[in-house]
């Protein structure tokens, strides 16, 4: 049982896919200018990681090693097509905002990385837990980034005008436009890594 719970919890901190494994950066940075697309993206990636981990783990003994990358790509891209269609049907505006990054879940290194490193050699239930843990670990960082960037960049949260209601604009506060732009996302991830590695010395690089 403790092994199972550690499968879910280590990706939150010690083995976080973004800040420690450095996987899946592209989408994490590109979709986090606002909170809502960040949350939708996090849910989509988690669903794809869990299901593809499950499917590959069930098939792991029948996949010939030489063509495993192609098999993994086919499974993942079939799942992403499904996710893409669901997003277009139910949250069309968000799916427009995410644009190409939904399709790029296929090449998201977290998905391929977990398939290759875990699902190919482990039982289905463990793989589901591992996928869930890594998906949620990815989600945490996306939510933090989306929260900070939307709050300080546009003064809103989930479209709700927080700073306007607090009356900050009337006393001379201005939104920081740089936070919405691409480079600031990179610097924010750098700062998150800085904070995390200051707290946990074992993660520091020599």
């Amino acid at each position: 049982m403790s092994k199972n719970s550690s499968l879910i919890t280590t990706p939150f901190s010690k083995n976080n896919p973004i800040t420690v494994q450095i996987l899946g950066i592209c989408s994490a940075l590109a979709v986090t200018a606002q909170l809502k697309p960040a949350v939708v993206m996090a849910i989509s990636v988690t669903v794809v990681v869990v299901l593809s981990n499950l499917i590959i783990s069930l098939l792991r003994n029948t996949i010939p090693p030489r063509i495993r990358i192609i098999v993994q790509l086919v499974v993942v891209s079939a799942l992403v097509v499904l996710v893409n269609q669901v997003l277009m049907a139910f949250v069309y505006d968000v799916s427009k905002q995410l644009s190409v990054y939904v399709g790029l879940i296929i090449t998201n290194c977290i998905v391929m990385g977990r398939l290759e490193a875990f699902a190919m050699t482990n039982k289905p239930w463990d793989s589901v837990l591992d996928g869930l843990g890594n998906g949620l670990g990815y989600a945490i960082i996306l939510v933090i980034l989306g929260f900070v960037r939307e709050l300080f960049g546009s003064g809103t949260l989930w479209g709700f005008p927080v700073f306007e209601k607090l009356g900050l604009y009337s006393i001379g506060y201005e939104n920081n436009g740089l936070v919405i732009l691409a480079p600031m996302a990179l610097i924010l991830v750098g700062i998150i890594i800085w904070i995390q590695r200051s707290a946990d010395k074992s993660l520091q690089e020599k």
């Binding site: 450095i22 996987l23 899946g24 950066i25 592209c26 989408s27 940075l29 590109a30 990358i69 192609i70 790509l73 086919v74 891209s77 079939a78 992403v80 097509v81 893409n84 269609q85 644009s99 190409v100 399709g103 790029l104 296929i106 090449t107 998201n108 290194c109 391929m112 732009l181 691409a182 480079p183 600031m184 996302a185 990179l186 610097i187 991830v189 750098g190 700062i191 890594i193 800085w194 904070i195 995390q196 590695r197 200051s198 010395k201 520091q204 690089e205 020599k206």
Partner: protein, 205 residues
């Protein structure tokens, strides 16, 4: 011809794959430790982009777009296969990477040795898939524009990774706070380079 150069310059500097869209970040961060290997990866990415984007453009234009199949027979004019584009694009990319690897190994062993492990890994590089998806989204009018776009994106990616690798080589002699060593400082430098590249944004072509 002017259109060709406009798209080329635009995709190198203004719509840079790394600094504007974060595509191919994973290998960008993992491989950029020395200039030599990053130049190898940059060339490989440019090469594969140049082949996959035009192929996917033709696929999109003659098979996937709404009404694209009307050249087969008029009864297929209403067919819309665009939901299949993700799965077909990645299949094309994986197949082409495999073919390119075999051709390069056979006819240019020196290049093959210098690219080494990077060539097969490119199949799952977001920059390649992203190139095809942006090409589909921006709806380029002819194949020349697509060539310009893929060449420009590749060169932009090459410049970015060689630039960061050169900075990281020098950084080895600097005193960086211990928690920032390695990836942390690389993220921040990439952000600063991104700000520098933003100065191209005002240029209208």
């Amino acid at each position: 011809m002017q259109e060709f150069f406009n798209i080329l310059v635009k995709s190198i500097f203004i719509d840079n794959m790394i600094f504007a869209f974060f595509l191919g970040m994973c290998s960008f961060l993992a491989v950029s430790k020395t200039v030599k290997t990053s130049a190898g990866l940059g060339i490989a990415v440019t090469f594969v982009l140049l082949i996959t984007c035009p192929v996917n453009y033709l696929l999109n234009k003659y098979v996937l777009q709404p009404g694209a199949l009307s050249w087969v027979s008029a009864s297929l004019a209403n067919v819309d296969l665009s939901f299949l584009s993700l799965i077909l694009f990645i299949a094309v990319i994986a197949a082409i990477v495999q073919i390119v690897e075999m051709v390069v190994e056979k006819f240019a062993p020196a290049l093959y040795n210098s690219l080494g492990i990077f060539l097969p890994l490119i199949a799952v590089n977001c920059a390649i898939m992203g190139g095809s998806l942006f090409m589909q989204q921006r709806d380029y009018s002819n194949i020349g524009d697509v060539f310009a776009f893929s060449l420009g994106s590749g060169i932009g990616w090459f410049l970015a990774i060689v630039g960061i690798a050169a900075i990281r080589e020098k950084l080895r002699y600097s005193h960086i706070p211990a928690p920032l060593k390695g990836v942390g400082i690389t993220f921040i430098i990439t952000g600063l380079m991104g700000i520098a590249f933003m100065s191209f944004m005002g240029i209208k072509l």
